[in-house]
Symmetry: C2
Subunit: 352 residues, 2 copies
């Protein structure tokens, strides 16, 4: 016998490429091209307080988010990025023998968490044009989770369809992972349904629209009972997950709504322009409600474009997976970066 | 039916009291009374980089720790405080049907993680004078974990006894939780055994000796195979646990060994002086190798002292548990703080 026999067996997950070279156009991990708010940059951190444990409830940040979203602080759960929040939600809520449901094309971490926590799962197929079909999620199940807008497709599920899934599953928790919702039209978020459905959990992140991927802040909003269950599990895992910089810079970010709205607006405008340019170049572009586009060229294979771009210091994301292996996921950068991308694409497509 | 039926059932863990008032003498959570190194305070964080994901491998910090401890970087695992590291180790290694073993009086999080992950456990009793008896840990088991020095007793298990436990359990992982080892005599750490035993994991934290509880940094050192298993589970949970401030300020802290040694030295000197003063006041003091002492008064009940101290703005830790409910755990603060404590104790004990 050996200690190795009792090791939890998992497929090691490989995170996206993080090129060390700063002189690349990095459009592969859906980061925000603009830095965080000046209120963050100018916040004076009291270093002497680092010797003390942070507030385990991260109350300052929880209160700031509750204020911002007009909910009670007891309805807010914060964690180390939305990955931490989602992992805690899987561990907390998905304990029935029934399979949980998420789309076949979706955030690649869902099956990883399911395997880690030994949760059975099924993956209903998106339609041909990458739409979630709500009726697929009404079969008996142990829970439902999907990103909205979906990743990597960028497609938004309209709120009435989201509600159909939540309303049709009163006996399980439905998690709507809204990592990219700030880039979608107003009124798309399931937050407006939280008061109505006790089984709905909405998850958000500071990594995309708030330019703070490097700080690791995610949060969830739901009714108090749901959040209390997550808190109990979180306190059984690690009392102090949010460090002082996360709590304090996080609050500073929430306090600057003007900057937040202006950078989100810029990215949405760039996305609309860039999508049109891609179409002119012969790409099929899935309508995007996120800070990235998902596109496939009519004649040149995605993998070929992906490799040539990387050789030119332009990083896209490419998934060698059934159904999407002819698509590229391209993060929206600055106007200058996207113009450079268009000019690169024009150049290489011309040579084919 | 309801979603509530499938919620993971846990005893919500309540973290230690964090008084908001800054004018108290806070000796209840084993924090360091001295701030972090000037190298941390003067580190210029590049805020624009917060928009990017941190390095998922936290390589800068891992390399700094590997250099510091003269091990290979592949032998180092970092996490969000040692609680995160320990929780990941429980999830990774304790999957047999046999109960894991830890002392009856020990870190209160061990049974919480065991319940969270549904791991059976047994708790061999410490001796009357709070010693770990190595032979208690040689029965068939699913793994072993203990703090050294133990918490809340502050007692050190000599290295030869630690080795007896590690060597006697080749088929399971033995975790030695060295949160307080920097305050123990040189040569006490099980790190010197890591090359010899593939089943040994040594866990450390920046929260005590490195004055960085507010940053949340913990780490583990073991042989490469052991660390690789933990990495696989960690990457299946959350790729990016260490935020940029943790990685960068953590490196700055490791770079200032002189400051580290000087503050640890001051705390050890204060502890020795304070322990003698307590004895003069009629306390039984368990010999401490940590940054706190565990003490019981010959005539006045611990709970009474605990309450009166709190009324005077002095926070100790009191555990209302069998065997230790007449003991106080008192963190070592500055000389000034400990003099104030002695004078307070002199005062109230006089009145009894």
């Amino acid at each position: 016998m050996s200690w190795k026999e009792n090791v939890r067996q998992v497929e090691p997950y490989t995170p996206g490429e993080q090129p060390k070279d700063q002189n690349v156009i990095k459009l592969n991990t859906n980061e925000n091209p603009y830095g965080p708010s000046d209120k963050v940059k100018n916040y004076a951190l009291d270093f002497d307080l680092l010797r003390k444990y942070p507030d385990p409830a991260a109350s300052d940040l929880v209160n700031a988010l509750a204020d911002y979203h007009h909910v009670d602080p007891a309805q807010v759960f914060v964690g180390v990025g939305s990955d931490d929040v989602l992992a805690m939600a899987f561990l907390t809520f998905f304990n029935s023998g029934h399979p949980i449901l998420f789309p076949d094309i979706s955030y690649s971490f869902y099956p990883v968490w399911a395997e880690l926590y030994k949760i059975p799962f099924k993956t209903p197929a998106l339609t041909e044009d990458f739409r979630i079909e709500p009726s697929d999620y009404l079969a008996e199940n142990g829970g439902v989770v999907f990103p909205n807008p979906n990743a990597p497709t960028a497609r938004l599920l309209p709120l009435d369809a989201v509600e159909k899934i939540v309303a049709g599953n009163p006996d399980v928790v439905v998690i709507v992972d809204e990592a990219y919702i700030d880039f979608a039209p107003e009124g798309s978020s399931a937050l407006s349904l939280v008061d109505k459905y006790e089984n709905l959990l909405v998850v958000r992140t500071f990594s995309k629209s708030r330019s703070m991927a490097g700080l690791r802040i995610g949060y969830a909003i739901g009714q108090k009972d749901l959040i209390a269950c997550m808190q109990a599990v979180k306190y059984s895992f690690n009392s102090y997950t949010m460090n002082r910089p996360s709590i304090l810079y996080g609050c500073a970010s929430v306090a600057d709504d003007e900057y937040f709205r202006s950078t989100v607006g810029k990215i949405v405008a760039t996305r609309e322009w860039f999508s049109e340019e891609l179409k002119k170049l012969g790409f099929l572009v899935i309508p995007s409600a996120a800070n990235f586009v998902f596109a496939s060229h009519s004649t040149v294979p995605a993998e070929e474009i992906f490799r040539e771009a990387r050789d030119h210091g332009i990083f896209f994301r490419y998934f060698k997976q059934p159904r999407i292996d002819n698509y590229l996921r391209i993060t929206i950068g600055t106007d200058e970066e996207m113009k450079a991308v268009v000019s690169f694409l024009l150049d290489i497509l011309h040579k084919k």
